[in-house]
Symmetry: C2
Subunit: 349 residues, 2 copies
């Protein structure tokens, strides 16, 4: 240990020696600033911080993958994705298919474009266990067991708790979180048996904070994260299938049909809104790597998991800011509705 430190000190000394003539060329006030103790401390802090971050990232990679590596033979893998006919799902399907990977799309909507020969569509209502079981049996018979399951189907509707109809609230839970149970029940057993597979949960940045106007959505996505965590534990400790991977993805707002009301409201939205490609590419890259992991997109909000650890007053400020954007949209919509109604009344009289 001591000799290692001595070697390091030698390296630093030679770096300093090398930098000294360069430093001498700078104007004297800059020289003083660069060589000050404060600068040295800041540089040391940034270096240590990044070292700790890299260390965590590397150890997390090993830990989440149970210290095992696995091979993915993409000419033989079968990807099963729910909600693959629109938004991020459709993008993922296109990208995986263009690499020649066999993709099974389960969606309640019909495909919007002609599918390539390696993409197979099955009409499926993921909220019905009968439908999921029937599609599961058919897929197994026609294509074999899926080795990658992407629980991507998701819905969302704006509106406060008091105004939202019972059916809408139930449906959000059914699609965004309960459906994950039904597909996992269908496809996990074969993955465990072969000790090979990957289950990807598409959650949301909303997993980390409950917001007004989308409380049901936030709840269903908090639940999706928790599902991923419990599933990971069971695969590791109950079934000891160390090579079955689990991942969870948390994108912030994405330009999909889901956020049409936000896009159309004309309100200045202060939160980042990502392109489908940005999120889709990150997910595809992650799927192809074949390792377990947690992706929070974009990187600028990678500390979103910290929100619920903060003092309550800071949490409230963060949620206030995020909720107020949605409240403004509600107000804009209400104002537009009132104007339309007034115009209609004027036209009638």
């Amino acid at each position: 240990m001591e000799s290692a430190i001595a070697t390091l000190q030698q390296h630093f000394a030679s770096i300093q020696e090398y930098l000294a003539p360069l430093l001498a060329k700078l104007p004297p006030p800059v020289q003083t600033a660069v060589t000050s103790t404060t600068t040295r401390n800041v540089v040391a802090f940034v270096l240590v911080w990044n070292l700790v971050k890299s260390f965590n990232s590397i150890v997390s990679g090993f830990m989440l993958n149970n210290w095992t590596s696995d091979k993915w033979n993409w000419s033989r893998e079968v990807v099963f994705i729910t909600g693959g006919c629109s938004g991020i799902g459709q993008y993922i399907v296109d990208k995986l298919a263009s690499r020649g990977i066999k993709v099974i799309v389960a969606d309640i909507q019909e495909p919007q474009t002609k599918l390539p020969s390696n993409v197979h569509f099955y009409k499926c209502d993921v909220t019905s266990t009968d439908s999921v079981k029937a599609v599961g049996a058919k897929v197994r018979k026609e294509h074999g067991d899926p080795t990658v399951l992407i629980n991507n189907a998701g819905i969302g509707h704006e509106g406060p708790i008091l105004d939202k109809p019972e059916g809408t609230i139930r449906k959000v839970f059914e699609v965004n979180t309960l459906a994950h149970w039904w597909t996992v029940k269908e496809f996990l057993p074969a993955m465990v048996k072969r000790n090979h597979g990957h289950i990807i949960t598409i959650a949301s940045a909303a997993s980390f904070l409950g917001l007004g106007e989308m409380t049901d959505y936030s709840c269903s996505k908090a639940s999706a994260l928790s599902f991923h965590e419990g599933l990971t534990q069971e695969i590791r400790l109950w079934y000891k299938a160390k090579k079955v991977r689990t991942s969870v993805i948390h994108p912030i707002w994405v330009k999909t049909p889901l956020i049409k009301p936000i896009m159309e409201s004309g309100v200045k939205f202060r939160q980042p809104i990502l392109e489908v490609a940005e999120v889709g590419d990150a997910i595809v890259k992650h799927v192809l790597k074949g390792n377990s992991g947690q992706l929070i997109i974009p990187k600028s909000i990678s500390n979103a998991g910290l929100v619920r650890a903060l003092p309550n007053w800071i949490q409230e400020i963060i949620r206030n800011i995020a909720s107020l954007d949605l409240k403004k949209i509600r107000d804009a919509q209400d104002a537009q509705l009132a104007k339309d109604q007034a115009a209609a009344a004027a036209a009638r009289s």
Copy 2:
């Protein structure tokens, strides 16, 4: 500011003067240790840490209560609690009733004991909006609008994702999280109108981590926390009812009928298991104060919200440890079942 610092320094000097003769009485090595820079730094750190904590706690109190205070006239308040016929709920009902407070108990079970005259039982299936609406109408007619709503009813069943029946999973979501929507829809409007009320969400420490064997429960409780957050935003920003309070309670394991399998397994459980009274008393105290807040019980796990902010590998270690307790119980139950079956087979042959 400078004069304040000078005054503080004077105070410290006089404290030091006062302590000097006491210090002189200690053995010399202890004197050296006490006056060392390290000791001074540790004491300073602990002081600052506690100052920051107190500051956060005070500001959070103001912030969560929208910088307003409110009066509670307990001879006129009406408390509505779901699941008040067993476990923590029953305890809360008893304690509030003994203070002469009017309590409405909504439960699918009948009361286990004779109720005092200020406690009124309504048979209610909180998973049915028809049932909640019918009870709501009756309660309003017979007792007026509830001013305190305690969403306490909760269920849980052990078992991994693959083994748990669909009906069980759905029921856990229905009772532990969806029911909160139905009762809030029923009673929040009157609270907003009067700008007076308190909605208390009984969540769980499981809100903060998804565990094997109880994934559905963890999901439903993560959702309950998120519901509380969204509800808080809507009351504050949508309805501007600054005096309607919201609170969320996260108890760890409690000796209720829910955890009977854990108690009976004989497995050494490494996590704290609280008495019903410990949790119940904390909740009653909180209700009587009438302020918004987040309670994590016991205090030793008050940083549970930090788990999802930690590097993934540390998160996994924490969830591994917590899940392994549950896995051991599963193994003990399976072993017992096998033994029972073998004994039964032997008796038959």
